[in-house]
């Protein structure tokens, strides 16, 4: 029994060649432009905060820097790993616990936070919280259904 996955179908790496009839000399993926823009904006913010690269040449430096960073970043981006996935993985690497930091991670199943029952509760179509009708009956002094829903 032969079977093929849909991997090739979904591995589309769309490239922007320029406006119709005007082919630009490089073929970058659409996502590269977004990444470049993100780096560029970040560079502008850093420039403004640190007051560096003042003047018109500063924009050129930031643009070049963003281009270099974009090229390096796009080496990691592929149909298998989108730009957002790469960013998430970088953040995951930065936030992972380090050896010797003394923190207990992951396996902290604290009993007081984790409620365990051996049998799952069964019952009819109970709802969470008393129904409106039941609430009205209570106000009139009526009794509930006598089930577990009355206990709270």
């Amino acid at each position: 029994m032969r079977s093929v996955s849909d991997d090739e179908l979904y591995s589309v790496a769309g490239r922007y060649l320029g406006p119709p009839g005007h082919t630009i000399p490089w073929q970058a993926r659409y996502s590269a432009y977004l990444v470049w823009a993100a780096y560029f904006v970040a560079g502008l913010i850093i420039r403004a905060q640190l007051r560096i690269f003042s003047g018109g040449g500063g924009y050129v430096v930031i643009a070049v820097g963003a281009t270099v960073a974009c090229v390096l970043t796009m080496r990691l981006v592929s149909p298998e790993r989108s730009a957002s996935a790469v960013a998430a993985m970088v953040w995951a690497e930065l936030s992972a616990p380090r050896p010797g930091d003394g923190k207990t991670v992951c396996a902290t199943l604290v009993p007081r936070h984790l409620v365990i029952t051996e049998q799952r509760p069964r019952g009819g179509r109970r709802t969470v919280g008393p129904a409106r009708g039941r609430r009205r009956r209570k106000r009139r002094g009526g009794r509930g259904d006598g089930g577990r829903g009355d206990s709270w």
Partner: protein, 951 residues
């Protein structure tokens, strides 16, 4: 019998005889260290030198009202800390997080090995349909490994066994049982378990989520109320959960809701990812489960990772309190090419099992409903079309060829979705991660490299950053760490994964005879199938010289006597089986007799076919009829045997003469079928007959001499040791017989060869006679090592037929060893149709190394395995004595240890066997490893060169 479960130095749970067997311990539990039990939360990190929160109890806030229950015996005041995992509660098999609920099921293991393609494809299709029924739900698949449940096996085996009395200066039954468990626990990844979590409710009600969040913070009364809120939320889903339970159980998945013990194991193994299963598995009895038991998983492991390291470190404590550090590499399933299952590839989630490295899986996936799938397909098809237009129309450039392939593939998928209504063309998406653990990072990366090779080139195995985040995906309830490495496929392609495929052959009790290719010990109760499935006990053992047939029969005989006090009769043509009787643990219950030294008349063909005893049959008319039938059958068999033996003793030129045959039959008829008959009576009758009777009697004169081997045929001896029914193990040595060679023309047989052949037949009948004389209900085992010789004469074929027919009634496991499967296939078969013979009656068949195309094809037919589809070469690759000898002689080989040391290698080198047992046929290896079987290995070692080295 009694037993208990103390820990040994390595912390593994073993059954010994210090506590009653009735303790309600489930399989494979390990004692939880006392410091990890108790009602309260535990120190956050036992591995750290930091004393943890328990060491700095905080004072109550000033002005806070003291609750009545906060007096003596109240909970200690502890700093609160948030759980490190997303799981918020477990109710039965339902796990809930703040974002949803998941019902967990355990999939039924499925066999795959050596099955016809049609069965494999049917399993794939039915699994695909079962998965398609779960469309729209997120699934979390987990595959994990556990060591062999040795304690549970020991408990069942101990209840089943009737061991020999302990002998002085030898390990007793209790010590032997412990040694078996110790050996069975050597391999940590023996049992594969597959779990599936099925999303039952997307999202949570706000009040339920709030209740879970507050459950650990408020006062006790509030916590009780909040717990009921969450329970009420689950109870409202009762109908859906019940429907899901029924659907999962009735589908091809055969899934059952995970018990408390199962959830316990799943949580422990997930939180202690990569830790040895013995260190990450609790021991507490699982019959009752309350919240305080969760102190077990608390702080079970500490995970950490260096920036962009290829693995994460998992530190934990084993049950003895020793620090364990493991390195875990998380890999992801990458691009998948074309798969051809079952013809070329294994199920793609089963391929990793072949490495034997205990690789765990975690898969998050969902089957898309038709609208969702169509929308996704339309979206990607539009992107591809737009890209192609961008190249060709907007810029007049040639589009990359991949775009054309993608357009074609999109059209194909669209066509499948629109025209195929079987459900197998539905689409699914998901993420598959693999956890590879080892003691060092280098070892883990080495296994990762092997894994890539195992999947190459059909599937790419990728390793990326964010190892820690991806590892958390293995814990139930944790969210997806990254969308990288998303796989999209049809449900048929998904069903080809078959994560539940594993080896399942064997019984849950009985001696641990084999191990599977994956390392799982396999127990075999030789009489279980006979007793419970009412099948024949005839078991062909086929293999080339050196395949290990004698070793196998000797090992099974040893276990049968040692564990079950079975009555075992072995015919030993070469000597190793005779040495079994020298084992000290069998002393007083084993006897070896040499046929050549036996008294005259031992093999009198009239007496080796016993007359049935009436008292062995039930009372009444039915018993009378059965007795009369069997008595008549015995008379017929006796007459046939005498005719066959006496005819076989004559030279071929004489026995082929029609007049001579008629005269001999006439004389045998005159003597009658009485067990008191004697071949000399036949000769006397021939002398009284007309010609050619006297001439025939004269021909017998030099053959049936009162001296030499022929004396065994004449007269009636007194009962001797060889005939005793008190010995549990009786080995009859036929050393000294000269059997005709394979392919020798009967016309060229010498008188000595003819006589030897007859004596070999009668010795086999002697074994049959012993079976008849023993009580029906006692377990018996017969080992005949000369199938070829038995198949040469009609009486031999009759004997095998008798074993095939009567073994069930008399509880006999009859092992008949030979080199060619064709000898078995021809037995009882109609002319030319070997499929109609006795082979079809054999519930169990064992085939070892077999070479030669014809022999391999016939061996597969005997195994009821499809021929011509590539299984033949496996028979030639099975390990045999050559491997063992090579391993022994090579001084650099790691297995070249003396058998007494208990190390594997040499005589105990595993011999591979294909074992057909009922519906299952799997590769197993004979296992005689361990110091408790050193004596057995030593006596069964037939390698002369090794014996010389040892001496």
């Amino acid at each position: 019998m009694s037993g208990a479960y103390p820990k040994f130095d390595d912390g593994l749970p073993l059954l010994t005889h210090d506590r009653p067997l009735g303790d309600p311990h489930p399989s494979g539990p390990l004692p939880l260290p006392p410091d990890l039990r108790g009602p309260g939360p535990l120190p956050s990190d036992p591995l750290s030198s930091d004393p943890g929160p328990l060491s700095v109890p905080s004072a109550l806030p000033r002005g806070r009202r003291i609750e009545p229950w906060e007096g003596l015996g109240a909970d200690p005041a502890l700093p609160e800390y948030q759980p490190g995992i997303a799981l918020r509660g477990i109710s039965g098999h339902i796990a809930r997080t703040s974002t949803g609920m998941t019902a967990w099921y355990r999939l039924r293991p499925r066999p795959w090995s050596m099955r016809p393609d049609a069965e494999c494809e049917a399993l794939i299709n039915s699994t695909g349909l079962a998965l398609n029924a779960l469309a729209g739900r997120w699934l979390h698949m987990r595959v994990l490994w556990r060591p062999f449940p040795a304690a549970a096996w020991a408990r069942r085996h101990d209840q089943w066994a009737a061991p020999l009395p302990d002998q002085p200066n030898t390990p007793g039954w209790a010590q032997w049982l412990v040694a078996c468990q110790r050996e069975a626990l050597v391999f940590p990844y023996a049992v594969k378990e597959t779990y599936v979590g099925v999303e039952i409710h997307a999202g949570r009600r706000g009040v339920g989520r709030l209740a879970d969040r507050l459950a650990g913070r408020g006062p006790r009364r509030l916590r009780t109320v909040l717990a009921k809120v969450a329970e009420t939320e689950i109870a409202a889903l009762d109908d859906e959960v019940t429907h899901l339970d029924r659907m999962m159980a009735s589908s091809a998945l055969g899934a059952s809701p995970v018990s408390a013990a199962g959830m316990w194991t799943l949580l422990h193994r997930s939180c202690g990812l990569g830790l040895p299963a013995s260190a990450a598995t609790p021991t507490a009895p699982h019959g009752q489960w309350d919240s305080t038991d969760l102190a077990g998983p608390d702080s079970a492991a500490r995970w950490s990772a260096e920036p962009y390291a290829p693995s994460i470190r998992v530190e934990g404590l084993d049950p003895t309190g020793r620090r364990v550090t493991r390195h875990v590499v998380i890999a992801s399933l990458g691009q998948m090419g074309e798969l051809d299952i079952p013809a070329v590839h294994l199920p793609w989630m089963h391929t990793a099992d072949t490495l034997g490295a205990g690789i765990e899986w975690s898969a998050r996936l969902r089957v898309l409903d038709s609208q969702h799938a169509a929308r996704a397909l339309r979206h990607v098809a539009d992107r591809v079309d737009a890209q192609q237009r961008h190249y060709e129309i907007d810029h007049g450039l040639a589009a990359p060829p991949v775009l054309a392939r993608q357009i074609s593939r999109a059209a194909q998928v669209r066509d499948e979705l629109e025209t195929d209504h079987s459900g197998l063309s539905a689409r699914c998406e998901g993420w598959w991660r693999l956890a590879i653990s080892a003691d060092t990072e280098q070892d883990a990366l080495k296994v990762f490299s092997q894994l890539q090779d195992a999947y190459h080139p059909a599937i790419a195995i990728e390793r990326g950053p964010a190892q820690y985040a991806c590892a958390r995906e293995f814990v139930p309830g944790e969210p997806l760490a990254t969308t990288a490495f998303r796989r999209r496929m049809s449900v048929r392609h998904l069903a080809m994964a078959l994560p539940q495929v594993t080896d399942i052959i064997g019984d849950d009790h009985g001696p641990l005879m084999f191990t599977t290719a994956g390392g799982r010990p396999v127990a075999w109760d030789p009489w279980a199938a006979i007793d419970h499935r009412q099948v024949s006990g005839l078991t062909p053992v086929i293999g080339n010289q050196g395949a290990g047939k004698t070793f196998l029969i000797g090992t099974l005989a040893y276990h049968a006597v040692r564990s079950a006090q079975a009555y075992v009769t072995l015919i030993d043509p070469s000597g190793p089986l005779t040495r079994l009787t020298q084992l000290p643990e069998l002393a007083g219950h084993a006897r070896a007799v040499s046929l050549m030294d036996s008294p005259a008349g031992t093999l009198n063909p009239y007496r080796v076919v016993p007359a049935p005893a009436r008292e062995q049959y039930p009372d009444g008319a039915a018993g009378d009829a059965e007795y009369a039938y069997d008595a008549a059958a015995a008379d017929a068999a006796r007459t046939t045997l005498v005719t066959s033996v006496l005819t076989g003793l004559l030279p071929a030129s004489i026995r082929r003469d029609g007049d001579n045959q008629a005269a001999l039959l006439d004389a045998i008829g005159q003597v009658g079928p009485s067990p008191q008959g004697d071949p000399r009576d036949v000769v006397a009758a021939l002398k009284q007959m007309a010609d050619p009777g006297p001439r025939l009697a004269g021909a017998f004169a030099p053959i049936l001499a009162d001296h030499g081997p022929a004396r065994l045929l004449l007269g009636h001896p007194e009962a001797g040791g060889w005939d005793a029914t008190t010995d549990r193990l009786l080995v009859i040595s036929t050393h000294g017989l000269t059997l005709p060679g394979d392919g020798t023309d009967p016309l060229d047989w010498t008188i000595d060869e003819q006589l030897s052949l007859a004596l070999m037949h009668l010795t086999s009948w002697l074994a049959y006679r012993r079976v008849y004389r023993l009580p029906r209900q006692v377990p018996k085992l017969v080992g005949l090592d000369e199938l070829r010789a038995l198949s040469l004469l009609p009486s031999g074929r009759t004997l095998v037929t008798q074993f095939a027919r009567d073994s069930r009634k008399f509880r006999v496991r009859a092992l008949i060893a030979g080199q060619l499967a064709s000898d078995v296939l021809r037995l009882g078969a109609h002319s030319g149709d070997t499929d109609s013979g006795l082979a079809g009656l054999c519930h169990d068949v064992l085939v070892g190394r077999t070479t030669g195309d014809t022999a391999q094809s016939e061996a597969l037919r005997l195994l009821r395995v499809p021929t011509g589809v590539g299984y033949e070469h496996q028979l030639g690759q099975l390990s045999g004595a050559e491997d063992a000898a090579g391993a022994e002689i090579d001084p650099s080989a790691p297995t070249s240890e003396h058998p007494d040391t208990g190390a594997s290698g040499g005589a105990d080198a595993p011999r591979g066997w294909l074992w057909r047992s009922g519906e299952l046929c799997e590769l197993v290896y004979l296992d005689t490893s361990g110091p408790h079987l050193a004596g057995l290995r030593s006596v069964l070692d037939t390698n002369a060169a090794r014996a010389r080295e040892c001496s």
